[in-house]
Symmetry: C2
DNA sequence: TTGTCTAATGTCAGCGACTGACATAATCTC
DNA sequence: GAGATTATGTCAGTCGCTGACATTAGACAA
């Protein structure tokens, strides 16, 4: 009815969409060049040819510029989760979808769009921002997991798996950052997968003083 | 050598410690009365009888007032983790320590100190602040878990368990908030335990379309 | 006690994120 | 093309937070 296709809408809508994209692109580029904290919202706005006030009419906060970029990447991850074989256990499916979707990210790395994940991972400042918004991302992922598994909407397991998944990724970020980063995103993926593979044992196992 | 005992230190140090406490108390009280966002740092400072600038010499940010309060509670949790029987699997030990330490919190609820957890749980605004700082809290908890288990410092499992633990608590917060809160913290503990108990199956199990 | 030395505080000016209010300019509708 | 909508710019202001500098209060020795 309303926005079935992004075509044939008025000039107004098209301009708005364009400006939103321009603002994101400007923001990401500046963040990349001078760092997140060192970039002011006024600069982003100026870079996109609008006033700061207009910037804040498009984004509720500076962080949201990054988030909008992440959302695309997250959407990609979700689609890969849906494509995983139905008999794969949920957490395992997430782990493998992560691996698969990384390839695509690497391949499309050169475009400004889609490079958000790598972009963030290069900037420690943004890692915190990233963490802060896991809640929002979690709920979406949880919905996908629930659909895939075909469980009751009241079931808390999908949300839990999503929460654990992102918590693990954050941990992986940390491990990767602590180990000098290496500037290569291959290492980051390896960290992610290592951590994800470690979770079942860490949570369910009886390791420690007396156990194995 | 320097601060072995908190006694017999100069007047200067004592005053500093007192002011820190006063600032935390003032902050928590104001947050409770008018809400976190609606309370300005100037008000907190004025309430403690100092200037805003002094406030910021004691706390790097407004959030940190809450954090300092949480830290005491977290320290309590850590001590309960240490007291758990050594043969208890790590994640299980966390779960039970959580249950135990809640009792103490409830009992000491009437004091302003120590009520931070319940205090936060009553204010949805602060839940986000709480989440934001899980990273800091995680690392401390991870250290305790590692010591308890006696594993190699390079082992990533303690950090993972801690990360999963806090992620689960955040999820519990969400569930509790979505279900109308109920204003009673008993419900919150129940949410926490339910979520924690669900984790092993959610992560390790093969639930969904084809699985159980 | 006095005087110095140091650390804590207050004052002030300023930056940057963010917002409300109002005027202006662009698009949409008829 | 006139009038209703909607986006944008401008301006002023709040709040979190910081640097700089002067002032005060506690520490310490003579």
């Amino acid at each position: 009815m309303s926005t079935t296709s992004p075509e044939n809408v008025g000039l107004r809508e098209r301009k708005k969409a364009e400006l939103r994209t321009t603002l994101i692109d400007s923001g990401l580029r500046l963040f990349h060049e001078k760092g997140y904290e060192a970039t002011t919202t006024e600069e982003i706005a100026a870079c996109a040819g609008v006033s700061q006030r207009t910037f804040f009419r498009y984004f509720a906060s500076k962080e949201n510029v990054v988030l909008e970029a992440i959302e695309e990447v997250d959407e990609l991850l979700c689609s890969f989760v849906r494509e995983r074989p139905a008999d794969e256990p949920p957490f395992r499916a997430l782990r493998n979808a992560m691996r698969d979707h990384w390839e695509v990210l690497e391949r499309e790395e050169l475009h400004l769009q889609g490079s958000a994940a790598n972009f963030i991972s290069r900037s420690p400042e943004l890692i915190e921002v990233n963490m802060r918004y896991c809640a929002r991302r979690q709920s979406r992922l949880a919905r996908v997991i629930a659909e895939r598994a075909g469980v009751d909407p009241a079931d808390h397991r999908p949300a839990l798996v999503a929460a654990v998944f992102y918590a693990t990724l954050n941990n992986g970020f940390q491990v990767w950052a602590d180990s000098g980063c290496g500037d290569n995103t291959d290492g980051l993926l390896r960290c992610f997968l290592e951590q994800l593979d470690l979770v079942p044992e860490a949570v369910c196992g009886n390791w420690g003083r007396d156990g194995g």
